[in-house]
Amino acid sequence: MNTQLVKYLIENHAALLSPPVSGDLANIYILFALASNPESAGMEQWEANLAKFWQEIREIADLCAGCFVFASRSYGSATLSSRDVSVEYIDVQALKMIHNSTVSAPVEFVRPIRSLSCENAEEMTLSDRLLSVLDSDAAATPNKKVLAKLEHFLSTKPASYRLGHERAQKFTPHSKFIPVCGNRSHTNALANIASITGNRVLSLDGNQLAATEQNIPGLSRCVQSKIHHIPNLKPQTDKSLGDCSYLDTCHKLSTCRYMHYLQYVPESLVQAVAARSRELNDLESDSKSICLYTRNLCCSVASKSVLPAQWIQCDVRKFDFSVLGQFSVVVADPAWNIRMNLPYGTCNDSELTDLPLELLQNEGVLFLWVTGRAIEVGKESLRKWGYEVCNQISWVKTNQLGRTIVTGRTGHWLNHSKEQLLVGLKGQPEWLNRQCDVDLIVSSSRETSRKPDELYEMIERMVGPHARKLEIFGRDHNTRPGWFTIGNQLAGDSLCEPDVQQKYRQFLHTQRAGPGRSSAAA
C-alpha cells in the first residue's frame, strides 16, 4: 500500500474534493505526483502512471472498505476506468486508522530492513543480516507479539489511576518543605558560629559565617536553603561519646554527656517557603473549585464543607456500634497486650477480637495498628471480621535528625525501627482511589503510641474528604474534621449528625435504665 498517498489524501482531502479539482482522478494524480516529486518529468508516460495510480487507489479502497465513494462520468459501464472516474467522498477517519496502523508501529523496524536491502547489503556479512532480521519485528512469532501486547496492557494502568493521582495532587495542599542538610562538616562548623541561649539557636554570626565560608565553600548558601542541626555543646558534653539516643526528647538535658542538637532554620527561609506554598495553594484552589474528575467522590467535592470533628467518650469494649452507622474507612489503634509494662491500660486479645467490627462496614477499608505478636492476632481478627489483608504499611520512625531509631532496646530480639499497620479490605468497593500513596510512612516519632498524622491524609486521598471515617481507640489529638473518633480517653462528646445524636441518646437512655433495673431486680 502506498502510505505516502494515504497521507497525502488525509492532508488534502478538502482541497481535492472541492472545485476546481472536484475529485477528478486525473487531476488528483497530477497534484499528488507534483507534491511528491516537484521536478517530476514523468509526464510523458502519464497514461501508464495514471493507471498505476488508479491501481493504488483501489488497493487502498480494498484494504479499507468504504473509504472512497467514486462516481463515473460514463454511466452504465460495469467497470470504472481511470479516465472518467472522480472521487466524491473521502472518509478521512478510516484513512487515518489504516495509516496509523501501518506507519506508527513498525517505523523503527522498517528502516534497518530497507537500508539492508539497498546500500549496505554488500558491507554486511550473511550472519549479521540474519541477526538483524531476527531482531526485527518480522521475526516475532504471533504468540510473541500477543504476549508483548498483553504485557503492555498489564503494565499500563487505567486512566482512572492517573486521573486519581492528579486529583490527589491538586487536593493535597502544599506543605512547607525544607530539605535537611546531611553534611557533617557544616554541622561542626556551625557549632562555633551559632549563638545559643536556653537550648535554642537564636541566630548565626554573619561575619564568622563569611569567614568560615572560605574553608567550606557553599556553607552560607546551604544555611539559607536547608535545615541544619547544630550541636548544643555544654560543659558536660563529651563529643567522643557520640549522640544521645533520645536527642531532643532527653529528660536530662542539663546533665547528659552525650551530644544533643538544636534545629536551625533561618526565619527568612521559613517565610519564603511559606509564601511559596501559599502561592501554590492559591493557584490550585482555582482548579479545585471546579473539579471535572469527580469519580469516586461526591460531585460537589470542592464546594461542600467537611463535617466538623465528632467524638464520643466511651468504653469501646462495651459500646453499641450500631449507634454509629456505616463507614468507608475505620482506623483502630488498640492497646494490644504484648506482655510489656506499658504506661497505659491494655486490652486482652479476646476483648479486641470480639469487638463487633463487622457492624461498621458492608464494604470498605480497615486500618489496624499492630505490633510484635499482635501482627498475627490482628491478621486473624481481620479475617474474622470479613476483611482480606491487602497491604501492610510500615511506619519508619525517625528521630530529630531524620535518622531511623536504632538504639534503646526497642524490641525483644531486634530493635524496632518501624511499626506495622495492617490494611484490610472488605467487599469490592469501587469507590476507592487506589495507589496514590506508597505503603510507607517516614515521619518522626512523638509521644508514646501517638501515630503519624500522614495516615489521615493518605486515607482522605483514598476515599475523599466527605466519606465517613471512624477512628477507634482515639485520643484527643486524633479528633479531626471529617472524622468520627471513639475511645475512653476522649473528653466528653461532640456530635453533629442528627441520626447519630438520636441513636446515641437512645443508647445512653437504655444504658442508664439497664443497670438500674438489674439492681432493682437484685
Binding site: 490527589a168 554573619g206 526565619e267 531511623t404 506508597v438
Partner: protein, 322 residues
C-alpha cells in the same frame, strides 16, 4: 515572645550582625517536613529522606565499633563459601538426603530472597525442617508481604507452631522504583497502596533467653528495618539479609535456600560462612566432607570476646547483677 525580646537584645549587643544584609535570625518554631505530601507533589519517595541509610549507626561510635568488631569476628570464623546449584524440584529430595543420610544440621537457615514467584510454602511443608535446624536454631523467611502473609497458615498448624516461634517481622525497603529490589505490582490489582517493601519472618526453635544466652545470641544489635544502600556490585541478595542473621546468632553453620529463579542479570553470589542453595548460584562446590572439616576448624560458635561483650546491648537485668 520573651524569646524574641532576647533575640533583639542580642542583636543590639552584637552590632556586627546588622552588617549582613540577610537576616540569620532563627525561626521561632521547629520545622518538620511532611514526606508523604512531598511524595504526592514531587514523586520523591519517603525513604529517600531517611538520613542514616548508608550507615544506620551513624552518630553512635560505640555501636560502630561493635559492628566492626563483629564483622571481623564473623569473617575470621567462617567456613569457605559454598554454593549448591539445584533445580527447585530437586531441593526437597536433596535436603531430605542431607537430613537423613548425611545428618547435616544448621543453626541458621534462611529461606527465600527478594523476588516474587517463590516456592516457600511447599518447601516448608515438604521438609522435616525442624530436623534441618538445630535447637536452638533460627529461621529467616524472606518474600513479598503477600507471600509472608500466607505463612500465617503455618501458625494454625500444630506441628509447626509447637516447633517454631515467630519472633520478629523484618522489613527491607528498596531505595527507589529503579532498584532491582522494587517489588512492583505484579498480579496485584487489589492493593490500595503501591508496594515498597519485602518482609521476613524471624523464627526461633528451641529455647534461648536473651538475658543469659549471650554466647548464642546477640540481641538488639540490628533493627527490624533495612533500607537498600547503593552498592556498586549488585547481587540478587542484598548483603544486609545475611548480616542480620550473622549479627544475631553466634553460630557458624548457616544455610540459605532460594526456592526461586533469580535470573542472570543479578547473580546469586556465594558468601563466606554460608552454604547457598539456589538454581542460579554462581558456584557449585558444595561438599559435605570439606564443609564438616571447615566447621571443625572454625568451631560451631563464635568465641565470646570481651570487647564485644562490653559493647553489645544487654538486658537491664544483667546490668543490675554485674
Amino acid at each position: 515572645m520573651s524569646h524574641e525580646r532576647t533575640a533583639s537584645k542580642n542583636n543590639n549587643e552584637n552590632s556586627r550582625k546588622r552588617k549582613s544584609n540577610v537576616s540569620l535570625r532563627a525561626a521561632a518554631h521547629l520545622h518538620s517536613n511532611n514526606y508523604t505530601d512531598h511524595y504526592i507533589h514531587t514523586g520523591a519517595l519517603p525513604q529517600k529522606n531517611v538520613r542514616n541509610t548508608d550507615n544506620p549507626v551513624e552518630g553512635y561510635p560505640n555501636l560502630q565499633k561493635l559492628f566492626r568488631l563483629k564483622e571481623k569476628q564473623v569473617a575470621n570464623h567462617s567456613s569457605a563459601p559454598y554454593g549448591c546449584r539445584l533445580d527447585i524440584d530437586e531441593m526437597v529430595p536433596t535436603l531430605k538426603n542431607w537430613i537423613h543420610n548425611e545428618k547435616m544440621v544448621f543453626d541458621v537457615v534462611m529461606i527465600g530472597c527478594l523476588t516474587d514467584n517463590q516456592f516457600i510454602y511447599p518447601l516448608l511443608t515438604g521438609l522435616p525442617i525442624d530436623k534441618l535446624i538445630s535447637k536452638p536454631g533460627f529461621l529467616f523467611i524472606w518474600g513479598s508481604a503477600q507471600k509472608i502473609n500466607e505463612l500465617t497458615r503455618l501458625l494454625q498448624n500444630d506441628g509447626w507452631s509447637k516447633k517454631f516461634r515467630k519472633s520478629e517481622e523484618l522489613v527491607f525497603i528498596p531505595v527507589d522504583k529503579k532498584s532491582p529490589f522494587y517489588p512492583g505490582l505484579d498480579n496485584d490489582d487489589q492493593v490500595l497502596f503501591e508496594k515498597m517493601q519485602w518482609h521476613c519472618w524471624m523464627c526461633i526453635t528451641g529455647t534461648v533467653r536473651r538475658a543469659t544466652d549471650g554466647h548464642l545470641i546477640h540481641c538488639n544489635v540490628d533493627t527490624d528495618l533495612s533500607i537498600e544502600t547503593d552498592c556498586p556490585r549488585k547481587s540478587a541478595i542484598p548483603s544486609h539479609l545475611y548480616k542480620v542473621a550473622e549479627n544475631f546468632s553466634t553460630a557458624t553453620r548457616r544455610l540459605h535456600i532460594i526456592p526461586a529463579r533469580t535470573g542472570t542479570e543479578f547473580p546469586v553470589k556465594v558468601r563466606p560462612g554460608w552454604v547457598i542453595m539456589s538454581p542460579d548460584v554462581m558456584l557449585n562446590n558444595f561438599d559435605y566432607k570439606r564443609y564438616r572439616e571447615d566447621i571443625n576448624k572454625v568451631g560451631a560458635h563464635l568465641p565470646v570476646r570481651n570487647e564485644i561483650e562490653l559493647l553489645r546491648p544487654k538486658s537491664p537485668v544483667q546490668k543490675r547483677n554485674s
